[in-house]
């Protein structure tokens, strides 16, 4: 009833103040429309990136400002627009609603809900294009994002505020890494944003269902511009997602954003650019395709304590064609990001999942963010694996002539590789990762046959949980392995080995 009263008073106010202000607006005429692009004559006062109002509630964004015409991308359904229609300047730019209310929702590139759960209450709106935080506001990366994936947390750790690229061919498990990371944040303080660009709608639905079934939608926002939507919306989606993430960062909170994937984003931008008749460069991408991604990824940052200490971590995804990481877009994004996780089809088919190529994957800043406990057990890991991968090529011709030290290295490498295998949607907590890596790196699992590693690992975790939960708890809270705890851990592992035999 109160609501009806409210509405009545609002209407009364509207009628009383009906049509007072008359202002001059800039207008133009549509001279050409098609493929999601409109060329408009006139609009002499239009600004770059300004929203343009067209008939039937269609809006466009001015991208090309020429001497007497404007090239604009059209957002949404544009089949009602025809030559000769009037276009008006609005003086606004594209904005998206941001805030707490978006968490758990699926929205489109303009922040409108598409999950059928009703309107979204938002705190405010932010422009989708914003300038990245400057040097004064930033701090070095110092806290880890726990992905829950053993191979990543130990070898190429990701810090909050970092940009880590996930790159690989189709179906090598790129999205799975991103989803595992989201699932692992359950009950944590990270807000996750998953931006789906140009993906099949069925796949996005599947992703939402997966996240829901693991209870991960409670801290996740999904921004989707699916393959059926216009290139303009696909182009805007990552910027919209980024603005949503920035809101949390500016509140002093930590957020994680996944762009899945930026190859399709570059395609959408290439389409727009070619239709706007901008000159084409390498692989027909326009000249500013580097800036397209650099300005987006620069917006991921870690704020210093005086400015709230919030962070926005970015996990952009790039899909390569036939493992070609020296193509235009992959090299661009590799050079913008702070490291990459490189996934390979061969490794994937060999059963190594995540199919990460240790040699080509790096994290340039994440080491500073790694916990002491993880540093202690994982310090030698990358070296061990790199040596193993090199030697395993020789070992293919037979191991009979090799010396003892080499054989030991080979065996350790096999165990470590086996330990780092992990099935999808089963992230491990920090303490579990530390315990198993401690065991394998200190040769406690020497006598376990390689094919039984997985089951032994399972029983080790179960044993630790039931018999010695205090060790895991200590690692989780202290983030380091104290001397006393290490002794306890050694004893516990020895005890566990007794149960095996």
């Amino acid at each position: 009833m109160a609501r009806a009263q409210d509405i009545a008073s609002v209407i009364r106010q509207q009628i009383e103040q009906f049509g007072t202000a008359v202002t001059a607006v800039d207008v133009g005429t549509v001279i050409e429309v098609g493929d999601g692009i409109a060329h408009i004559h006139g609009l002499s006062g239009v600004k770059y990136n300004e929203l343009i109002e067209l008939p039937h509630g269609v809006v466009g964004v001015a991208l090309n400002l020429e001497e007497d015409s404007v090239g604009a991308i059209l957002l949404g359904e544009y089949s009602g627009i025809k030559e000769g229609d009037e276009a008006r300047c609005t003086g606004r730019i594209v904005e998206v609603p941001v805030g707490e209310g978006l968490i758990g929702r699926v929205v489109d590139a303009l922040g409108q809900p598409i999950d059928g759960k009703g309107p979204i209450s938002h705190d405010k709106t932010l422009p989708v294009e914003r300038v990245a935080p400057n040097v004064v506001l930033r701090a070095p990366v110092n806290t880890p994002v726990q992905t829950g994936i053993k191979a990543i947390d130990s070898i190429i750790p990701i810090g909050r505020g970092q940009r880590e690229l996930i790159i690989g061919d189709r179906s090598t498990g790129k999205t799975v890494i991103a989803l595992d990371t989201i699932i692992n944040q359950k009950g944590g303080d990270l807000v996750c944003i998953y931006v789906a660009i140009g993906q099949k709608t069925s796949k996005v639905v599947q992703t939402v269902a997966t996240l829901e079934s693991y209870g991960a939608m409670e801290h996740t926002i999904i921004v989707a511009a699916n393959a059926a939507e216009s290139a303009a919306l696909q182009y805007l989606a990552p910027y919209a997602g980024c603005a949503i993430g920035e809101y949390f960062m500016e509140q002093g909170r930590d957020a994680l954003i996944i762009y899945d994937d930026l190859s399709k984003h570059a395609w959408a931008y290439r389409q727009i650019s070619l239709l706007l008749r901008r000159p084409a460069g390498r692989e027909a991408y326009p000249g500013d395709v580097f800036y397209l991604h650099s300005r987006l990824l620069e917006r991921s940052a870690k704020y210093n304590a005086e400015h709230g200490g919030g962070s926005l971590t970015a996990l952009p995804i790039i899909e390569t064609q036939a493992a070609d990481i020296s193509a235009y877009i992959p090299t661009n994004v590799i050079s913008i990001t702070d490291g990459q996780i490189y996934l390979e089809t061969d490794l994937f088919n060999a059963g190594i999942r995540p199919a990460m190529n240790i040699g080509l994957s790096v994290s340039r800043v994440g080491g500073a963010a790694q916990t002491k406990a993880m540093k202690k057990v994982a310090g030698q890991l990358k070296l061990t694996l790199a040596q193993y991968q090199e030697m395993s090529t020789f070992a293919q011709f037979g191991t009979s002539d090799l010396d003892k030290a080499t054989l030991a290295q080979l065996e350790l490498g096999q165990w470590v590789t086996e330990v780092l295998k992990q099935t999808q949607y089963s992230p491990y907590s920090l303490e579990k990762q530390v315990v198993i890596l401690y065991a394998v790196m200190n040769n406690y699992l020497d006598d376990v046959p390689v094919d039984r590693i997985a089951s032994v690992e399972e029983s080790l975790h179960r044993f630790m949980d039931t018999s010695h939960p205090e060790i895991g708890k200590a690692i989780a809270t202290e983030k380091t392995i104290s001397d006393a705890n290490e002794e306890a851990l050694k004893k516990a592992i020895a005890e566990f080995k007794q149960t095996l035999s």
Partner: protein, 179 residues
């Protein structure tokens, strides 16, 4: 698009010449005469015929345009020689726009629901002139669909003071509040 740009450049060149010689008004008349004379289909078909020699065409043009200055004849010769006669109309339009801008004249088009009286339209022109800081050449038409008030368009600027626009704005805000 490319054609408009080309016409613009030609018009700019002509306007510069006119400005230097301080003959902006005379050129405007000359160009109008040229445009109306050459719009004759028989004449233009001869001028565009590649079989006719250029010197013959030039003679014909000189005869058809006896009162024109040498420079304006040169313009036509040039267009004929370069086979750009097709953009003459656009050149004239562009030239007139430049001349108007130079003289501080702005064309305004006003739409009203009922026809404007002379007094009202003069007052409106005066008001628009004070708004834009330019002299206003007013044209008007009547469209009952706007219900009341007026819609004025000056160049790229639109002042929509019609009842229709206000009703639409009211509808929009009411729909938004209802959500």
């Amino acid at each position: 698009m490319a054609k408009i740009a080309s016409a613009k450049r030609h018009a700019q060149a002509v306007f510069q010449m006119a400005l230097d010689a301080n003959e902006v008004g005379k050129w405007r008349q000359d160009l109008q005469t040229i445009a109306s004379t050459l719009s004759d289909p028989e004449l233009s078909s001869i001028l565009e015929n590649p079989k006719v020699h250029l010197s013959d065409k030039m003679g014909l043009i000189a005869k058809c345009l006896p009162d024109s200055s040498q420079l304006s004849l040169n313009l036509v010769y040039f267009l004929v020689a370069k086979q750009r006669l097709g953009i003459l109309g656009q050149i004239v339009t562009e030239y007139e726009r430049m001349a108007d801008a130079h003289e501080g004249l702005e064309h305004a088009h006003v739409t009203t629901a009922i026809s404007l009286e002379k007094q009202a339209s003069d007052k409106l022109a005066e008001r628009l002139a004070s708004l834009t800081g330019k002299r206003i050449a007013l044209t008007s038409d009547v469209d009952p669909a706007i219900i009341g008030g007026f819609v004025a368009r000056i160049g790229d600027k639109l002042i929509d003071g019609s009842t229709r626009a206000r009703l639409q704005a009211l509808k929009k805000t009411l729909v938004e509040t209802a959500h």
